[in-house]
Amino acid sequence: MSSQPVAESKLGLRTSLFKRYETLTVLSIFAGFVVVIVVLQLFLTGGTKFPTFISPVNLLNILQQVGVPGIVAVGMTIVMISGGIDLSVGMLASLVSIITALGISKWQLGVVPSVLLGIASAVVLETIMGFIISRTKVEPFIITLGGMITFQGIALLLCSSREVIMNGELDFLKANLIQGAKDPVSHLNLIVPPYVLIFFVIALLGGLLLGYTKYGRRIYAIGTNPQAAYLAGIDVKNMKLSAYVIMGVLVGIGAVMLLARINTGIITLGQGLEIDSIAMVVIGGTALKGGKGNVVGTLIGVFFLGSIGNAMNMLRLPSEVQFVAKGLVVIIAVSAGDVSNRISGFLSRRRELRWHAEQRATKGESVESTSNPK
């Protein structure tokens, strides 16, 4: 337990912007990425055409692609801040889509009851996993991995390994909310389907919940130090459980949106959703060990990851390249915080040394020039 002299800790406060505002790190990487793509595109098209990457129609296109993973990523943010993780979301989304599609086309339950049945099953399954995670000491990684495999099995059993095709009963979910609006540059139709709106509403609610409520405070507390949280009167077990319940609701909603987009309940529907949403959350600065992160960071992660594939398209690169790019972005975004910390730590140590040297100099003592690199 080192007691720092006051002077030193005062110096320590003058740290880099990146250290104090961690979302700024990833935001600047994102901005850099956008600039590079725009410049490349201008260069490749000979500087004659408007860069289509930042055209309204393309931006809205990106939004459509990230809407559903974004909804799941908001839930993943809450789960991960509480110290957990959920690998099952992808297969759970597939299962929900198959249940909902079956409800509509085979069991003839009607649209609304089928959708509710799908969402309710997601909530029930997440609740079961959350219950096991919060009541035992088994790693959430393992439980949700088991969940993922189980859900895949249930889904395949339900649909007899076949796809469940609907007759467009959920088309109202992909209707265009701004019918008739045109892109000022390309004059293509602009499309904002309802699920994009729902994504923004959920992100807003998630952000408010984490940042401005008692519930949010407690989620951060149990993620930071569950033992101290327990002794501060927080019901750690039920808080953990609640994070998975919320996750269930969001995966349910997200899965129905996905189903509406492709009109078919199929096992591949949610494939990779867990990887994408976890990547989005960690790009946004949420720590795997919990207690750190926020929805604003996650939103940046969502847009960042979502625009990579699109950007590769714009640059006419083969679509396989996007995986390499996505992977690199995750690695760079997550290590950037640490690298900038090291740099600012190095700078502040130098400042300290200089400060001490000045102090000694003003006291009239001999100054060791070796400890004062200028």
């Binding site: 007691s3 720092q4 930071t224 130090n225 101290a228 002794l231 501060a232 927080i234 207690g291």
Partner: protein
């Protein structure tokens, strides 16, 4: 009987603390040399010097079999000095044999000689009459079994000296008996054993000599034969009066808290009352079950039997939140792991426990900041404002954040578990002052402490706990080092 180890003139200073002062100590072949002393007397530091973990200050010398050596952990090991700490570092998923030979496997042409290693392990385990199997999985053994394996390791590798730090701390009486017999066998095979224990019965049973430490100094050395417990305890007490604190007395008012026959989590049948304006000190040796009792009172461990009354009303604490709602506060011993959210700001730490008492679902960061800043000022936490992350504060200031967290809940019954552990002298005084201020406001304090001067100078009454049971309740002039020590380590009869 030849000498294995000799230490002369050993001192060890840490910034601001003289942990050891001119200690001389020696160990012969075939003897058990016991080390006794209160918590903080310097026993652990001495062990660390012996095992090479700490270097003694200038002027101290260590001789191994007559030759001067400068110990480091590696050299100590290769000379044959083995330390068995209270907490084991073992490979839980490996077998006994694999644990014994971990890092020193017998290998022939690149292949492990499993049969040979097993044979040697079995031989020693049999010699010790331990009944352990060399194939048992280490994680399946209890603390006593794991200790025996460590001792067996000492014999297999022909160690010269074994240091045992509180080996019987969590053992049952049958296991203690068994372990003491094994130590006897090992001793007779010619090894030297340094034995540290709070339990005088054990010291008298297996010891040949005993050295008593107090405040980092060697007080005396005796042959066990002919020594009485009274003499030994007399040597252990009598601390430097400058380490005591003169506390202002506060008028004591009505009873606010009462425990009746509280049993659970290792505590057995403990009853006491606590009045407003009063500090009840809970004394006892490390591992006597004091913190365990506090957890029961606070609802963080189960109450199996007994009653807790607050302001005369029967309460049930099945979760800490109930205790907090009943105006209890728990300043835990291990503040970094159980009291603080280190990466979070002071403001966030200060406001977290009071969430139990608030009705509003929505919280505002600026309210947290206002409350945080108020406590930064009130408790003179050395930082510009409450937006500093707690991890950046010193130990004393971190403890103040813990206090602020509980003050913010407007609690009235405070449990302080080791309130000044690891805190420098200046901050200690400040924390004592804060405690007295609490008493003046009509609040009440239960204080668990292993710091003898702290217990004696701060408490109005003292409960002495041993093995989870209340051995004595002392008040007024009865509160003395000797009385506390006799009750916490000795038999009731002396």
């Amino acid at each position: 009987m030849s000498e294995i180890l000799r230490l002369t003139n050993i001192s060890k200073t840490f910034p601001g603390v003289m942990a050891l002062q001119n200690i001389s100590f020696d160990l012969n072949e075939g003897e058990v040399h016991c080390l006794c002393g209160e918590n903080g007397a310097g026993k652990s530091t001495l062990i660390k010097v012996l095992s090479g973990a700490y270097q003694p200050d200038e002027g101290g010398e260590i001789f191994f079999e007559g030759k001067p050596v400068i110990l480091n952990p590696h050299l100590a090991m290769s000379l044959g000095i083995q330390t068995i700490y209270q907490e084991h570092v073992v490979f839980e998923s490996l077998s006994v044999t694999e644990n014994v030979f971990a890092g020193a496997e017998i290998v022939k042409r690149g292949f492990l000689q499993k049969a040979e290693m097993r044979r040697q392990t079995l031989g020693v385990l049999k010699y010790l009459k331990s009944g352990l199997s060399p194939d048992a999985i280490m994680g399946d053994l209890n603390s006593s079994g794991q200790k025996i394996v460590e001792i067996a390791k000492g014999l297999i590798f022909k160690r010269r000296a074994i240091i045992l730090d509180e080996p019987t701390a969590s053992l049952s009486s049958v296991e203690i008996e068994n372990l003491l017999e094994i130590i006897e066998t090992v001793k007779n095979s010619g090894l030297g054993i340094i034995y540290i224990s709070h339990h005088l019965e054990e010291v008298f049973k297996i010891g040949d000599r005993v050295t008593v430490l107090r405040d980092g100094r060697k007080v005396s050395q005796h042959e066990i034969a002919g020594l009485t417990k009274t003499t030994l305890i007399k040597d252990m007490v009598g601390r430097d009066p400058s380490t005591f604190y003169r506390r202002e007395k506060v008028p004591i008012r009505e009873v606010v808290f009462e425990a009746r026959e509280v049993t659970g989590n290792g505590a057995r049948d403990i009853s006491f009352t606590l009045r407003r304006g009063e500090i009840v000190g809970i004394a006892g040796m490390a591992g006597s079950g004091r913190s365990e009792l506090m957890n029961v009172l606070f609802g963080s461990a189960r109450l199996d039997f007994g009653e807790i009354l607050i302001n005369g009303k029967l309460v049930k604490h099945s979760h800490p939140k109930n205790a907090i709602q009943n105006k209890m506060c728990f300043i835990t011993e291990d503040r970094q792991n159980t009291g603080l959210f280190l990466p979070q700001t002071i403001a966030q730490n200060v406001t977290i426990a009071n969430l139990v008492n608030t009705r509003e679902f929505v919280v505002h960061s600026r309210d947290d900041t206002r409350i945080g800043d108020k406590f930064v000022k009130q408790l003179a936490i050395k930082t510009p404002n409450s937006q500093t992350r707690v991890v950046e504060l010193s130990g004393g200031n971190q403890q103040k954040v813990v206090l602020a967290k509980w003050f913010n809940t407007k609690g009235e019954i405070f449990i302080f578990d080791e309130p000044t552990l690891g805190i420098d002298v200046g901050s200690k005084q400040e924390i004592y002052k804060v405690m007295v201020d609490l008493l003046k406001q009509g609040k009440a304090i239960i204080m668990v402490s292993s710091d003898m001067p702290e217990v004696i100078s701060m408490s109005d009454r003292v409960l002495v706990i041993k093995n989870g049971e209340k051995m004595a309740e002392l008040s007024g002039d009865e509160i003395s080092e000797e009385n506390i020590l006799i009750n916490s380590i000795g038999d009731k009869t002396i």
